[in-house]
């Protein structure tokens, strides 16, 4: 069976007044129906990767090298009608801010139906009944009435449910979720996470879940890829990452998690801030912030070490025993 997703040596550079090397030599693959969390802080290139997957980056201001294949389709070569069929049909996206990602002057029913009509060629009535079915599936109470609501008439959690219904209406093979719970209240966050997990099982699609919250990543995903400065620095199953995170950045993220911190105890933050990425990194990007950095880390790109199958760490010292700490 072909891989659901194959990203090979993806490199993305934004041109303009300031050049930004947003993505640097990223490779990533996913099997059918897999759930992957892309973990990293703001500016690490998570969202850019998702946008590249949907061909949403402005072509005039971006240089893209490498390749992206979804179910064997070369995404970067798509254009025009083929790209429209692919977007929303094959791969769809749930945005961070449902309040901004839904058109304020159309009813939510119309917005879902519109997508269904475009991809499935259904009539307006059939598309609306599909929309109704989708609103039911995302557990929106009295869906029939909600169909005719405008986005501003719904609560934040409800809007995100609509966004999910919209994204899943055409049964995509791959769902991209760009921090879908960040803009929501904590209690609603959990509900949305659980919903996504259930729907993933129900529909069997692959999910890429972008987040900066390692707790969320653990909750939803089988695998985790940690991004830093436009590179994947570590990848493995969620269990491996939690139990045996090798990269100092991953370990920093784990330590910075608030969940087990006693009151009054100092929080473990990672010192410093990520690099500006104005030049293509030629050494370990994390070295300036790394407590374990060697002089060799600042001289060349770290090797990609693969301790086991589908497990990799981009750190010179990944093989060392961690007992020293």
């Amino acid at each position: 069976m072909t891989n659901l997703l194959d990203i090979q040596n993806l490199t993305i550079r934004f041109k303009g007044k300031r050049t930004v090397h947003a993505i640097n030599d990223v490779s990533l693959s996913m099997k059918q129906g897999e759930t992957l969390a892309l973990l990293g802080e703001s500016g690490s290139g998570k969202s850019v990767t998702l946008k590249a997957l949907l061909g949403l980056l402005p072509p005039k201001r971006t240089d893209i090298a490498g390749s992206i294949h979804v179910n064997g389709t070369d995404v970067l070569s798509l254009s025009g009608k083929a790209l429209q069929r692919y977007r929303g049909g094959e791969v769809s996206m749930v945005f961070q801010e449902p309040a901004l990602a839904l058109d304020p002057v159309y009813t939510v029913g119309h917005q879902i139906a519109e997508t269904v009509m475009r991809h499935k060629g259904l009539s307006k009535e059939d598309a609306l009944s599909t929309a109704l079915d989708m609103l039911d599936r995302v557990r929106i109470p009295s869906a029939n009435r909600r169909l005719n609501n405008y986005p501003h008439e719904l609560s934040g959690g409800m809007r995100q449910r609509v966004m999910i219904a919209l994204a899943l209406a055409c049964r995509p093979k791959l769902l991209l979720a760009d921090e879908p719970t960040t803009a929501l209240d904590a209690t609603v966050q959990i509900q949305i996470l659980l919903l996504l997990r259930e729907l993933q099982k129900e529909f069997g699609m692959g999910v890429i879940f972008v987040t900066h919250d390692i707790g969320v990543a653990v909750e939803i995903s089988e695998r985790v890829a940690v991004m830093y400065a436009g590179q994947i620095v570590e990848e493995g199953t969620t269990r491996e990452i939690i139990r045996d995170g090798r990269h100092p950045y991953t370990r920093g993220l784990l330590a910075a998690n608030l969940h087990d911190v006693a009151r009054g105890e100092r929080l473990n933050a990672i010192a410093g801030s990520p690099p500006a990425l104005e030049a293509k990194p030629d050494a370990c990007s994390f070295a300036p912030r790394c407590p374990r950095a060697l002089s060799a880390c600042r001289e060349a790109l770290p090797p990609m070490i693969t301790p086991s199958e589908r497990r990799r760490v981009g750190c010179l010292r990944a093989d060392e025993t961690l007992a020293a700490e």
Binding site: L54, L56, Q84, R85, Y86, R87, G88, G89, S92, M93, F95, E97, L100, A101, L102, D103, P104, V105, Y106, T107, E114, T115, R118, H119, Y150, H152, L166, A167
Partner: protein, 317 residues
Amino acid sequence: MLTYLIRRLILVLPVAFGVSVICFLLVQIAPGDPLTAIMPVDATAEEQDAMRAAYGLDKPLPVQYAFWIGNLVQGDMGKSIATGRPVAGEVFGAVQNSLLLALSAAVIAFPIGIFLGFLAGYFRDTWIDRVVTAVSIAGVSVPNYWLGIVLVIIFSVNLGWLPSMGAGPGGSSEWEWNWLHMRHLVLPAVTLAVVPIGIVARTVRALAGEILTQDFVQALYAKGMSRADVLRHVARNAAATALSVMGLQLGYLLGGSILIETVFNWPGSGFLLSNAIFQRDLPLLQGTILVLALFFVAMNLIVDVAQAAIDPRVQRT
């Protein structure tokens, strides 16, 4: 929606009352005595008083207002002091002509303004945007009476293609939809359209540019919508605000074309107004201002209701 409409209609009443009071008082405040304009210079004080009494000008102001408004609701706006003809007929004929001119200008200006604005908003910060911005700023800035004169010199005097004045062979009252009449409309309508083209283009550019940067536009592309679909969404988002700007522009076109109507001798309300001012023709002046002001109030009402009908976010209670 219906209750909203009724509420809006009720709210118009006090505004209309205020407008009528201001119209009435404005003329009272204006210096000069209307009688001196029509009476012979050697008229005696008795003759002047008799004339004043005949027009009801000797009564206290509230009484004059009550008479005025009482007649008004019966369709009687008094008689013109200068011509002795009923004001209502004069005003409605003139407003009809002005409306014809204003609507023609709007028909020219709004589509062009919308198109240019959309183009500039879509291609923001490109040379297209800069050209459109330059054109719209020029359109707003050029004094349109001057432009009117220049157009007359080019198209009437030098080329002889179009007439320079009047509303056609029938004069002010007999308009017909044929070329003989419509060729008289071309120059004033084009001249009048220049300012609203600029204003509408700039408004639509700002709206479209702002809407296109919103997240939902990217979300629309992400769900597989074509560029045409996306532009339809943008247009619907921009429609409410754009319509309200255009509605007000139509109001300005109707009431604000005094200079253009004077340049082209167009027998409209502006022309009537300037005559009424120079002749101190109080009843005519009051009637014209009142009709124009009420038209503006009506325009505002239509704009509000249309906005509520289009944009679901507008409070309808």
